[in-house]
Amino acid sequence: MRIARHFAAALALLMPAAVVAQVSYEQIVHSDKEPQNWLTYGGNYAAQRFSGLKQVTPQNANTLRMAWVYQMRGGGQLESTPIVVDGIMYATEPPSNVTALDARTGKTLWHYNPVIPRDLVAIGLFPTNRGVAVLNDKVYLATIDARLIALDAKSGVVRWISRVADNKDDGYAITQAPLAINGKIIVGVGGGEAGAHGFLSAYDANDGKLLWRLLTVPQSPTDPGADTWANGSWSNGGGTTWNTGSYDPETNTIYWGTGNPAPDWNGDGRMGDNLFSCSLIAVDADTGKMKWYFQFTPHETHDWDSSEPPVLINATIDGKPRKLVVLANRNAFYYVLDRTTGQFITGVPFAKQTWAKGLDAKGRPIKYPPAKIEPSVEGTLVYPSLTGAINWTSPCYSPLTGLFYVNTRESGAWYIKGEPKMAPGNSVGVVGGGGGGGKFMAGDQTYTAIRALEATTGKRVWQFKMVGDSWTGTLVTAGGVVFSGDAGGDFFALDAKTGAPVWHVQVGAALRSNPMTYSVDGKQYVVDSAGSALFAFALP
């Protein structure tokens, strides 16, 4: 098998289009054994974005130089984390296009551009795409108009297309990378501001048949959680599943975050906890049944989706080995949970927050009085801002340092309450019916920072402050380097132990993706996107 793959890699240099990328489920489970590849959106099933590559170190990072640049073909904002399999890169471009590249040269092998309807509905989200999944001989793409498409990894030709949800009338849209597990493709949906009801789906990887669907917000009075929405207000929707989750192969459990309840900034009509919005759900991958849930922000009214990547780590707490899921939440708290039971272990703020006195013993927030924190007609200043202390970008975790690295957003916003109008079952009729909105603080009053937290406690070890509103995730390597980027166009490397900057380069536009790394022919490449281009750097 390894010989075959090496042969394939060698072939890729000569005649890339002739190579069939084969990525078995077992390979993804043991992705740490092949650090030259980047096989899932989050780098591995645990969504750690940790790479075993060691070539680039804090000592030599200052000699990194451009290896190649890929200029995307269309317009829009590039936010893709590419997948790399044996020297072939699969990257996505807005709105839902896939490009296969020679990962050594940046040269195009094939393109796939699905036809996206002109009357696309994209409410409260940006029509981009964050990446694909790969499994066996196929590449899986979720489209902005809420379809799931399987492509032949070799040629980019379509193998099957399944409609996940309706875009035109119901406002569902997908920007996330799907998650490929054993024989199944897991995908969520976005569109909470359009009144979409969240759910998570599994499709047969071979033929695209729907295997199961789990509702994250009730769709009838008898659905689980319906009693936590006063007066049947579950009908407004929310709880979408718009960011890629993680997976524990040992227990066959999927972990996925859910978004805000609807309408967002006016919760008057939906009193109650509004399950299962703003939660982490643990799902049996075979049956689609919920094993447990943990709601971070009950009755949320500030657009603090809990869609941040749940990162799975194994660590020792109080002398005992624990299987954990850790998550830096948009609500500004960092959470450590037992991933077998969902039990709350600890939670601390990792950014300024002014909405909760703290968390109780079960991890439920102790909110300040409504007058201090609820959106109002004139605007209520609350930290963090509408875009949260973290947003869609991914954190990373290094088992070598035990640190969790998160791009942290330090800002407040004035939250404004509007009309809570939502029309059940006719979301497009109330485009923009988010129940309010907000005003941001000026840039000079805010900043972003890469923060290193002790993963088991959330205690801050170091931070690296950035000018401007960075929308870039983090990557950490076995070489001891953290990569990220800022809004001013600087892609940079930090010493993973100390946070000291060891390299930066100006790429001319705000960095906009989660960085990733891979190697071809023994050379390590580090990749991130800015503007409409994908940049790859390597040592000389």
Partner: protein, 293 residues
Amino acid sequence: MVVTRRIGLAAPSIAIAVALAIALAGLGWNSLLAAPQGPPQGPPQKVVEPESAKNPSAEELAEGKLLFEGECGECHGVDASGNVGPDLHGVTQKRGDDGVFSVIRNGIPGTGMAPVSNLNDKRAWEVVAYLHTLAPTAADEKVVGDPVKGKAVYDANGCATCHTIGDQGGGFGPPLTRIGEARSPKYLHDFLLDPGAHPPSDPSLPERAAFTGYLVTHVWTKSGREITGIRINEDTFTLDLEDLSGHYYSFNKSDLKKIETEPGKSFMPSFTNLSAADLDDLVAYLASLKGAQ
């Protein structure tokens, strides 16, 4: 390093800033969709205002308000009073209904105003109809001075040292050629009395649009120099300043001992020394500047 070559400054006063921080699902707002296939589309089609937009029902107006709050409120303020984007009261009077529709459809190239892909034509017209109801505030738009006398005040006070109108004047401050289109008389009045309190945004990079423009900044280098100027650009690692004599400075922050900024201050003098009549005349002159003649 001193760079003496002058570079034209962008005009913060007329640039429509972009809010890079977008709420909702955290992604961004109303961006241009890439054409999925084929070449870019041809020139915009002629806009025909539907009857419903000219005489909207109460329901359509309410819908337009809701749409505006959700789709436009982030940049323009939920009440359209402006945020990082401009105040839109009176915008349909300035641009016409079809002009506003066209901006919604096509955006304004070179500014933060991107085409709004989320609204179909019917809904875009509902937003236009709603904006049509937002008359400029009478007090804001009231011009009491004499623009001809105001020009004399402008000339007598040396405003042209730092500002251009058309092709005349200096480039340290923002150009004023279209300032009457971009700012209300009330804003101009208040700004002249306390420039530091009403700083324009910095449009040098879209990502920095919500930052303070013309920020008074002092730096001390490790080699012992002290320089004061306005911030032209800044990122995590570097800082560009322009001093009063027009020299540009490029710094690596790692070479600086200290950086201090003075938000609320401006190099522009406060014109509290002007008589009330002169101030009104100057405002009237500035309010009359609406583009190249």
